[in-house]
Amino acid sequence: MTPLLEIRSLSLEIPVNDGLLRPIRSVDLTVERGETVAIVGESGCGKSLTSLAVMGLQPQNARLSAERLAFQGESLLGLDRRRWQAIRGKRIAMIFQDPMTAFDPCYRMGDQMAEILRQHRPVSRAEARERIVALLRRVGVPAPEDRLDQFPHQLSGGLRQRMMIATALLCEPELIIADEPTTALDVTIQAQILRLLADVQQETGVGLILVTHDIGVVAGLADRVVVMYGGEVVESGTTDEVLGSPRHPYTAGLMRSIPVPGRTRRGQPLGHIPGLVPRPIAPLTACGFLDRCEFRHEACAAAPVPLRSGAGERQLRCLLPIETPRQPAEPLVAATAIA
């Protein structure tokens, strides 16, 4: 069966003053029907650009190339404006990070949602209103009728994000891309919104891409995890595989920065990965994670590292062994050797 979304070797290049930015480098990603895939990585790793590229919303001056970019078996490459319009919001819907700014401050919530519904479906105003109220009720918005007449700034962040989710559900899409849907929210609200997303996914069977920089939210939500670093996929597999035994040093680093209930005490510093996400300016000549990796050895600096497949669904872009779990205490070569 054809997958819901199939991305093979997607790259994006953006010309800037001082060269060519390569924020996405040959990314592979597949989402099956009804599946939830998490894309994880620190800020600046290319997660948002990947999501936007799926909807044809990459920056105007960006050059996109891909071996294959297909939705329900139909290629999305080179679609004209009208065909894109028929997909955006109707078959693929997006949930954005900041519910504060994602809605137009000039219009009432009800009008904005109705505008989107009526763009894709020939329904009357009254029918639109009815459907919106029903959806708002479904996503747990209290007093939905009253919300319709309110402006975005009159709602709380959590409420706005619920309405964003309702907006995404308006046209019963086949795929929802949620780009850091809870990053801008309070911790307590975050859990509620993630719960809601999971419920909605269960109920509707929609395909879901959950973009997050917090690998902690992935467990229990995603079927599969794709870890991105520097515009590349560095590790992927089922959630159990990746979270159960992370193989890439970057994934392991991300895992260390999750507070563990019971073990991490309040105020205790979390583990973190030293260094910063590099600016994706030059073509890679070595492992992209080299600078920050505590396990680097000479071979890592010799050439870009290819993505290898291991047992199960695991894929890994690292020269470390893919099968046997390594002992993190024993780096193969002292890190100072190359530094």
């Binding site: 800037v16 003053n17 001082d18 600046g44 948002s48 650009l49 936007l52 044809g56 919303l57 990459q58 920056p59 105007q60 001056n61 404006r81 600016r279």
Partner: protein, 308 residues
Amino acid sequence: MADTSLIDGASASISAAPAAKPMPTPGQIALRRMARHPGFWFGGIVLGVFVLAAIAAPLLTPYDPGTQDLARRLAAPVWNSAGSWQHPLGTDHLGRDYLALLLYGARISLFVGFATVLISGLIGTVLGVAAGYWGGRVDLFVNFLLTVRLTLPVVLVALVAVAVLGQSLPLLVLVIGGLLWDRLVIVTRTATQQLVGREFVTAARAIGSSTPRILMREILPNITSALIVVGTLELARAILMEATLTFLGLGIQPPLTSWGLMISEAKSQFLFRPWLIAIPGTALILLILAINILGDALRDVLSPEGRA
């Protein structure tokens, strides 16, 4: 329609390449940027040519702008089939050499422009710095003055003032300078406000420097580039204002000459001899254009963050 850039904050990550050589001073950076800015060259050269021509007027034409020669009145310029090199730009309805009028007229335009900006610059800087430095009531008061000024129709008030007070050159300068300080106040006020919050001013206050000292040593030197930029643009506005008042018959009066006066006097002739207006008109537009472009270039170079 194409999709424009959608990722916020993206451009912020594009930092300048690190300089390998020793850090140039801000002045050197500004000079280098200037040399590369075409607007700076165009504006500077045209303005320079006008200033030089105005200064060197007696060398450039043998005629006196006041000498009338009714026998040779309304001679055509040299590019017209009836023209000759004797009067390259022809003569006016009184037989005065048009090139001489143009050159001596430039003196008036430039004089009025620069003198006016001195006055309005003084008013604007005092008010703006005071408002920005002390804030509070002073700021409210200056703001009120600014609102009053903006509420007055400039051209009309200037016309009335000139009509009432008499029509002399110094008075014209005073009137225009006394009116066109609004933008200078706005800019110096904002610039000062930004400085007052910065460490070095706070530090100067902390070590007990006197207010005049802080104003002269810390504030003024740091608002000069903003001042130069608006001052340049105000120069153009002042020159336009003089031309307009003169055109309406209440600015420069004979025996002085100015471009506005030339245009005003040529009005009745212009259906048959359009060059009588086109010549001073082109000079005026070119001068204003050059000053505006120079001002824009200076803004690009001196305060790139302040671009519209």
